[in-house]
């Protein structure tokens, strides 16, 4: 009997993901575009992504491979547009021109490709020495910092191995060229008002870039990673653990329904008042999609409402499986736990006036982001001199006073 058994195919997850993505409404629309060899290109791009995530994915990161891409493609495919009366009018994918859908699909599939590769040769030719890996104490931070800027060279290098003909898709300077898709993908690292002069009147690209960014921002829910297993078995530092926990605090899969999103939050067991700033920051994270309001109008896909449950304070619902957090190194008490969680948010979600420029701060105010009590961060991060991470954690544990 045992002789007849066949080893499982290690590429089965690729086949599943490829089937899921190629069958999605977004891809179906995109396949109608006139970009040459487009279907082959998408299939090969998925194969390349699978190979990279199988062999080169850094253990410190949450998933940036095919499951994440499936999630984004699915979110965009299910994106419902509102009509004037708030009823379902049509789906976003049906509104997009095939060429736009093609660019959007490639942008979505490539936006995090740099997170799966660690080669400095993909840095731009005239890059600053501060982007050189030798200047960074750990490779994971360098990868995260440079994953976008390395994308143009990386995508060309990797796709050339499948077919030399793919180079032509990037080298033309036409409007439907895939280098446009790469530019759209790269825009997710900046806010719309930072996108530069070139795009000032390119409303299509601005809209598509906003869709990528919003879909990515919403990919926050507990399905993104297996928090419990990661905490119990994977290495990593306090920041990694806090990121894994953060995903467990959003219980539902967040999709755009009739131009609105609904987010249900839960809290770890035995947390209370001290955790309030964490939920302020988490709600703000979802509210950041409102910063793309103008850009989404260009593709007639506005987000009219963000329903946050609860909209203020701390959720009543407890997260399952997050009961023994105080046994994690650096999470000794609620204050330290809150400190570690706050470290995971971008300064914009924290509405941190110390780290956000004046223009961005004004935008955050107009988007009605709630104020976050940063005292836990402030008393832990520094008194006068910068502190090491362990020093900050120590001060967070002792509560900033003795």
């Amino acid at each position: 009997m045992s002789q007849s058994r066949v080893l499982p195919d290690p590429s089965s997850s690729l086949y599943d993901a490829r089937d899921f993505i190629l069958g999605s409404p977004l891809t179906r629309r995109a396949l109608e575009c006139s970009i040459p060899r487009f279907a082959n290109f998408i299939a090969d791009l998925l194969d390349a992504t699978h190979r990279l995530s199988q062999s080169c994915h850094l253990p410190e990161f949450t998933d940036h491979g095919l499951p994440h891409l499936c999630s984004l493609v699915d979110r965009i495919s299910k994106w419902e547009l509102p009509n004037a009366s708030g009823q379902v009018e049509t789906m976003l994918t049906q509104k997009l021109a095939p060429e736009s859908a093609g660019l959007l699909l490639v942008a979505v599939l490539t936006h995090d490709l740099g997170m799966l590769s660690q080669k400095p040769e993909d840095l731009p030719d005239a890059h600053s020495t501060s982007l050189d890996p030798s200047q960074w104490s750990d490779i994971a931070s360098w990868v995260r910092r440079t994953h976008v800027i390395r994308l143009p060279k990386l995508i060309r290098r990797i796709m050339k191995t499948y077919s030399p003909d793919y180079s032509a898709l990037f080298d033309d300077h036409g409007d439907e060229n895939l280098s446009q898709a790469i530019a759209i993908a790269m825009a997710h690292q900046r806010w719309p008002w930072q996108w530069g002069e070139n795009w000032a009147c390119n409303f299509r690209n601005r809209g598509l870039a906003a869709i990528v960014s919003v879909a990515d921002l919403l990919d926050e829910d507990s399905a993104r990673c297996d928090t419990e297993t990661l905490l119990q078995h994977r290495g990593g530092d306090e920041l990694n653990r806090a990121h894994w926990i953060r995903h467990a605090l959003t219980t539902n899969r967040v999709v755009v329904s009739r131009g609105e999103i609904t987010v249900e939050l839960c809290r770890p067991a035995a947390t209370g008042r001290v955790f309030k700033p964490v939920f302020s920051a988490l709600r703000n994270h979802f509210r950041l999609v409102l910063l793309y309001e103008d850009e989404l109008q260009h593709v007639e896909a506005p987000i009219t409402n963000v329903h946050l449950l609860p909209s203020t304070g701390i959720p009543q619902v407890e997260a399952s499986g997050l009961t023994r957090w105080n046994e994690l190194d650096g999470f000794a008490n609620e204050q330290a736990f809150a400190f570690q969680m706050l470290r995971t948010f971008m300064p914009e979600a924290l509405k941190d006036s110390r780290k956000v420029d004046a223009v961005t701060l004004a935008k955050l105010r107009s988007a009605s982001l709630e104020d976050v009590d940063l005292s836990i961060l402030e008393q832990s991060e520094m008194r006068n001199e910068p502190r090491t991470v362990e020093e900050q954690t120590f001060h967070a544990i002792i509560g900033g006073k003795s």
Partner: protein, 501 residues
């Protein structure tokens, strides 16, 4: 502040200290002394601040002992000793903290006065309660307790490797322990190791190479040590044979790479190497920078140099720079001890050379003859190249040789005569300077040593054909001239038969 608030603050501080301790232990095991001292100074500063604010609710010493012990184990700058001294005033040292306090005080005092002898009467017994609480067969063993016990033994040993103090201390400590205690069980092996390594200073280790192999668990370390023994005994065939095996086992990432480099470079004067030193030196520095423990040792060595330089820049003053002198001696001691833990003889020699420089500087500055004797022996054992033409302060030291007491001259002469072959030429150099200051009762022993040296076939490796010029003046003035001449006659005849000699 209410009692509840005190308790809450104290509880949190203890949680924070436990967090730092876990990181400090990890860094200690990785050999990253700079990280360890970062965590320890952070902990002690906070403990002191808390103790000052809440004198009635101080942290128990035993709950923060790791920060005192590990911090001193990895000390570089003397301010850490000051921090220890002030922080310990603000913890609870009473009751079952007393033994931890004793151990911390022993380490502190030894580091604070690296030249002084420890008065063992001051060292208390370790009570049975301490042993049963720490290292019990069914309990956990804290890394800081193992460090404290072994570090104190090493420090006492270092002050007099050939003496019995360190053994007496251990006897006193173990009285109340049980044989199955996991900390106590480590001590016999350490004693055996230190007893054997004492021979590195007396020269005895090099006549008994078998003993070492049973003491060293790591194959590479064992082979490195065997190669050193061969080098010390000028057994070049054996050295080459061991070295040929070793060089294939140790790459630049290997934990023993620095030790291998030290071996190879100490052997350079005896053997040719095809490798360019312009390549090997930068490679050594690069590899060393990638190994936390080795980088830390280098950091300490550099700090010794910078402290010594500040003394030199001040013109070797007599009434100042005591702190810098202490730091040089303290760190030379710690560099040597760190090397011995991995049987890195090259590192041990390097530490001795640094101690020699400090002892001789002290002798030349203060006229202290004990420092002079210690400095000369350290120079010979540390393979230092001492030439009064290059180092005027060494010239001052040589002029002081006549001021040594008879006992000091006898001891110095006997120590030099006990040197292993690799040190013969340096010993002969000092003996020649001593010349008629060598006590006449030792002239016959000196003659026997000359015969032994000249009758071996080793001088060809010593850049000279004879070491007999010790006798140039001494033979004329020795009261035992006739007897010495009779003894030396056969080799004198042999030497005079060498053409052009």
């Amino acid at each position: 502040m209410s009692d509840t608030n005190h308790e809450e603050a104290k509880f949190r501080l203890q949680q924070g200290l436990d967090y730092l301790r876990r990181h400090a232990i990890d860094a200690h095991r990785a050999g990253d002394g700079l990280q360890v001292t970062h965590y320890c100074s952070l902990a002690l500063t906070q403990v002191e601040e808390y103790g000052k604010a809440h004198p009635q609710h101080r942290i128990e010493l035993k709950n923060v002992r790791w920060a005192f012990i590990l911090g001193m184990y990895w000390i570089v700058h003397d301010w850490f000793l000051m921090l220890v001294q002030s922080a310990i005033e603000h913890v609870n040292r009473d009751g079952n903290n007393a033994t931890d306090y004793e151990l911390i005080a022993l380490i502190h005092n030894r580091l604070d006065s690296p030249q002084s002898q420890i008065n063992l009467l001051e060292a208390a017994e370790i009570p049975a309660e301490w042993w049963s609480e720490r290292g019990a067969p069914n309990g956990s063993t804290a890394e800081e307790d193992i460090v404290a016990i072994t570090f104190v033994i090493e420090l006492v040993w270092y002050s007099q490797p050939g003496g019995l103090d360190w053994r007496d201390l251990v006897d006193k400590w173990l009285v109340n322990s049980t044989s199955d205690n996991r900390i106590a069980a480590r001590i016999p092996r350490l004693l055996e190791q230190l007893a054997y390594q004492a021979g590195l200073y007396s020269g005895d280790a090099f006549s008994d190479s078998k003993a070492s192999t049973s003491l060293i668990e790591n194959d590479v370390q064992s082979e490195l040590f065997q190669a050193w023994l061969a080098l010390y005994n000028h057994d070049h065939d054996k050295f080459e044979s061991i070295h040929n095996e070793l060089k294939y086992k140790v790459n630049t990432d290997h934990p023993s790479y620095v030790a291998l480099f030290n071996l190879q470079h100490n052997a350079l004067i005896h053997r040719k190497t095809p490798d360019s030193q312009f390549v090997s030196l930068p490679k050594f520095q690069l590899a060393r920078s990638h190994q936390p423990a080795e980088f830390f040792r280098h950091f300490r060595e550099s700090h010794i140099d910078s402290e010594f330089l500040s003394i030199a820049q001040a013109g070797f003053p007599t009434n100042s720079h005591a702190g810098e002198r202490k730091t040089c001696l303290r760190l030379a001691m710690l560099v040597s001890l760190q090397a011995l833990r991995t049987w890195d003889v090259g590192g041990w020699i390097s530490g001795l050379r640094m101690r020699a420089r400090s002892h001789l500087e002290l002798a030349a500055t203060s006229g202290d003859t004990n420092s002079l004797v210690a400095g000369i022996i350290d120079s010979v054992r540390g393979h230092a190249v001492l030439d009064p033409k290059d180092e005027p302060r060494f010239g001052i030291c040589l002029q002081m040789l006549d001021r040594l007491s008879v006992e000091q001259r006898s001891k110095l002469t006997l120590d030099l005569l006990r040197s292993p072959p690799i040190e013969w030429r340096r010993s002969q150099g000092i003996l020649k300077y001593l010349s008629d200051a060598i006590p006449s009762e030792l002239h016959l022993e000196l003659a026997e040593w000359s015969i032994k040296v000249e009758s071996t076939n080793l001088l060809k490796n010593l850049w000279t054909h004879t070491l007999l010029d010790i006798w140039d003046e001494l033979l004329h003035t020795s009261p035992k001239r006739a007897e010495v001449t009779m003894r030396l006659a056969p080799i004198l005849k042999k030497i005079t038969g060498i053409p052009f000699h």
